[in-house]
Every structure is written in structure tokens, then in C-alpha cells.
């Protein structure tokens, strides 16, 4: 039986992806942010998970408002690198895991999650930024298979914070019923606080971001109980995407331990990284 060995949170701003492609890991202005990835890279290198379930959002790249899904799960065995309007990033196509993905599809739909099932889903910065940061040696391919789940955080109504948390809990049940002796991590992406539109552009809230990171560890139930309105007020309309981290947290057990957290909010956005480890991850 498969098992979840950890959960990782990361921002997904395209500026981070550009920095990675330029080899800018040590650029002084961004060192505080980029160093936050080092312990996560080491942990992934040590544990070599077979697959990663990636909770992210598309930025009107692969999905348009003619058909906008609340939750879209990819069952593809490979994901093209999307051209968002400036040429695609120089990354290899992202390997999926169809067997795991179809298993998740059946388990989640039976569990009353009304997925949109995707067989052709190019990935944009929402997905590419975190995986290129977690696995920096990706030039010749990705060491871990990626099963992406795209979440609507752009067109309202968006799924409630509690729905994301429940999605994570359902993902845990689904992974544990996958009859393969494999290890899985769950990746939450986006945020933290930011707003990119209207006169409120540039809104950030470091106090809320720190409170969120703390509650994510100690009381995720409290975060699931908030309303979308609370996230918008405290973290900005675009920052409300941080509910995607609740899906990652919901997929973890009560025994998961926080190994690492980092915060940096230099410009438009409050950036954070976090790493949780499950007891199941301990290498015997």
C-alpha cells in the first residue's frame, strides 16, 4: 500500500522560476527566499518520493473561462511546459503517473469530489515554479512523477477553505488505498498574502502570513473554519489562493512534524516555504 511521507508548501511566482532558469540561486536580493528551498531539496533527495500530488492553480493559461473547473485532475503520463505568452521555460516535459492519477480519480469521485478529469494539461508557473525549485537538477528530467490538481482560485465562487482541507483528507484515503508499495508527497503552492489587481494592488500582510504558517502547523482546523472573505480581507484577493496549502495539510496525519519554515516578503507578495514530515518517512 502506498503512503504519504511528507507535505511541502511553496510560492509559485513566475519571478522565482526566472531566477532558477538564470542560475540565480545566490543573488543577494533573493538569497533569503532561495535558501528556503535548500532543506526541502535535501529532504527530497534523501527520501526520493515516487510521486508528488501537486495542488496548484492555472493562471488562465491551460484553462479559459469558457469552461472553468473547480478541481481539475490530470491523468496524463506527460505534461507539456506551457507558453504563457513569453515563450515556454527551458524545462523538460513533466512526467505524470497515470496509474496513480486514475486511482485518485476513482477514489475521489466515489468520495463525492466532482473532478474534471484532464488528459491534456500543459502546466504554467503555478506548477512549474515549485517543482523547479524543489528539484533543481531537472535539466534531464524529473526524478519524481507529478500528479497535478488545478484549483480554481480566480473566478468566484472558489472552493471553500474547508473544501480544500477535505480534499486533502480524501487524498490521504485515496493514496492509502492505492495498491502499490510507493511513497508520495503532497505539494501545496501559492501565496502567501498578495493582491495583484485594483487600487489594492500590492497589499501584503506579514502578520497574517505568520499566523497562517503557525496555525497550519498547530491548528489547521481553525484555518479550514475561516471564510473565503476572511482570506481576502487578511491576505488579499490573489493571496486567498493560500487555501491550496490546506489541501496539503489535510493530507497529513496528526503525527506529521514541521521540519522547516521560511518567510520573506520583499516586493509584491509574502513568500513562504514549509516542510512537514510524516513518521512514515523515517528511513529504517
Amino acid at each position: 500500500m502506498a503512503r504519504i511521507i511528507g507535505g511541502l508548501g511553496s510560492p509559485h511566482a513566475p519571478s522565482i522560476g526566472a531566477l532558477i532558469d538564470q542560475g540565480g540561486w545566490d543573488q543577494p536580493e533573493w538569497k533569503k527566499l532561495m535558501d528556503g528551498y535548500r532543506p526541502m531539496q535535501d529532504w527530497l533527495e534523501a527520501h526520493k518520493p515516487d510521486a508528488a500530488i501537486l495542488i496548484y492553480n492555472d493562471h488562465v493559461t491551460s484553462f479559459f473561462f469558457d469552461r472553468y473547473p473547480t478541481f481539475a485532475l490530470s491523468v496524463a503520463s506527460e505534461h507539456p511546459v506551457a507558453d504563457e505568452g513569453f515563450g515556454p521555460r527551458p524545462l523538460p516535459p513533466v512526467r505524470g503517473d497515470s496509474d496513480l492519477a486514475w486511482h485518485l480519480a476513482h477514489a475521489l469521485v466515489e468520495d463525492e469530489f466532482d473532478l474534471t478529469i484532464c488528459q491534456d494539461m500543459p502546466l504554467d508557473h503555478g506548477a512549474l515554479t515549485p517543482i523547479s525549485a524543489f528539484w533543481p537538477n531537472h535539466a534531464n528530467g524529473w526524478p519524481t512523477a507529478i500528479v497535478p490538481i488545478a484549483v480554481n482560485v480566480l473566478q468566484f465562487p472558489v472552493p471553500t477553505p474547508r473544501r480544500l482541507y477535505k480534499l486533502g483528507q480524501a487524498l490521504r484515503r485515496a493514496v492509502e488505498s492505492w495498491p502499490q508499495d510507493k511513497t508520495v508527497v503532497v505539494l501545496g503552492t501559492g501565496g502567501l498574502s498578495h493582491q495583484l489587481h485594483g487600487e489594492r494592488f500590492g497589499f501584503r500582510n506579514a502578520d497574517w502570513d505568520h499566523e497562517f504558517l503557525s496555525l497550519l502547523e498547530t491548528d489547521p482546523e481553525a484555518l479550514a473554519s475561516l471564510r473565503t472573505q476572511d482570506y481576502i480581507e487578511r491576505g488579499g484577493a490573489e493571496g486567498a489562493e493560500m487555501v491550496m496549502w490546506l489541501a496539503m495539510r489535510g493530507a497529513l496525519s496528526g503525527e506529521a512534524r514541521k521540519l522547516h519554515v521560511n518567510y520573506h516578503g520583499p516586493l509584491h507578495t509574502g513568500f513562504a516555504q514549509i516542510l512537514f514530515e510524516e513518521p512514515a518517512a523515517v528511513i529504517a
Partner: protein
């Protein structure tokens, strides 16, 4: 079931993408969405009026695009992510687009931040 949004109590300067405004903005959003195709970017640069004509935009939307009025477009229902394709094509980066929406110069906006750069 808990009501998730209080439309009448949103923070000032916040415009959610939803409802009939989203329906109305579908064509503007589609024009911006399609700018991920290099051919459409070239078409806009060569002849913006001709590209806009293809999308059957309303006169108000055409004028807002001519005016590079990003805030006006957001207020009409355009979503910021496709819109950023258009504003960047027009030479306004993320910070420049944001500064304009705040009613500031780029310098004024960046002075409110700790770091520089994009």
C-alpha cells in the same frame, strides 16, 4: 453552508471575477488569453484595432485598451492574469501595471517596497 463572500463588504479596490460582469468581460478576457499565441501578440502590435475587431469587443472595452487603462478594464470585469499579458505587451511590467492601478508612478509604488526588481 456558510456564505463565503459579502460582496457589499469587500476591501476597497477589490473586484472579484464573477457574475454578469464576468459574462460581459468574456470577450476581453479571451483577447488577453489568446495573447499567449505569438501570432496574436504580433497581430496586436501590428494593428490593435484589427485584432480587437476579431473579438467583437464593446466600444467601452476598445477605448479602455486604447487608453491602456488597466484599472478600468479590471473594473469592467477583466481578470488580472490574462490582462497582465496585454499590459506587459504594452510595456507595463507587473509593478508598472500595479502602480497604475494604485494611481501612482512606478517610482512611488516601488518606494513602498523593500526590494527592487520584478
Amino acid at each position: 453552508m456558510v456564505r463565503q463572500i459579502d460582496p457589499e463588504r469587500l476591501p476597497a479596490g477589490t473586484y472579484l471575477n464573477t457574475g454578469q460582469a464576468a459574462n460581459r468581460a468574456l470577450r476581453v478576457n479571451r483577447l488577453c488569453y489568446d495573447l499567449k499565441e505569438p501570432a496574436n501578440r504580433a497581430a496586436f502590435e501590428a494593428d490593435p484595432e484589427a485584432l480587437m475587431a476579431r473579438y467583437d469587443l464593446e466600444p467601452e472595452d476598445r477605448q479602455l485598451i486604447r487608453d491602456r487603462d488597466w484599472l478600468g478594464l479590471v473594473q469592467r470585469g477583466a481578470n488580472v492574469f490574462p490582462l497582465l499579458r496585454l499590459s506587459q505587451l504594452c510595456g507595463d511590467g507587473l509593478a508598472g501595471t500595479g502602480a497604475q492601478m494604485r494611481g501612482e508612478t512606478l517610482e512611488q509604488y516601488l518606494a513602498t517596497r523593500q526590494a527592487k526588481g520584478s
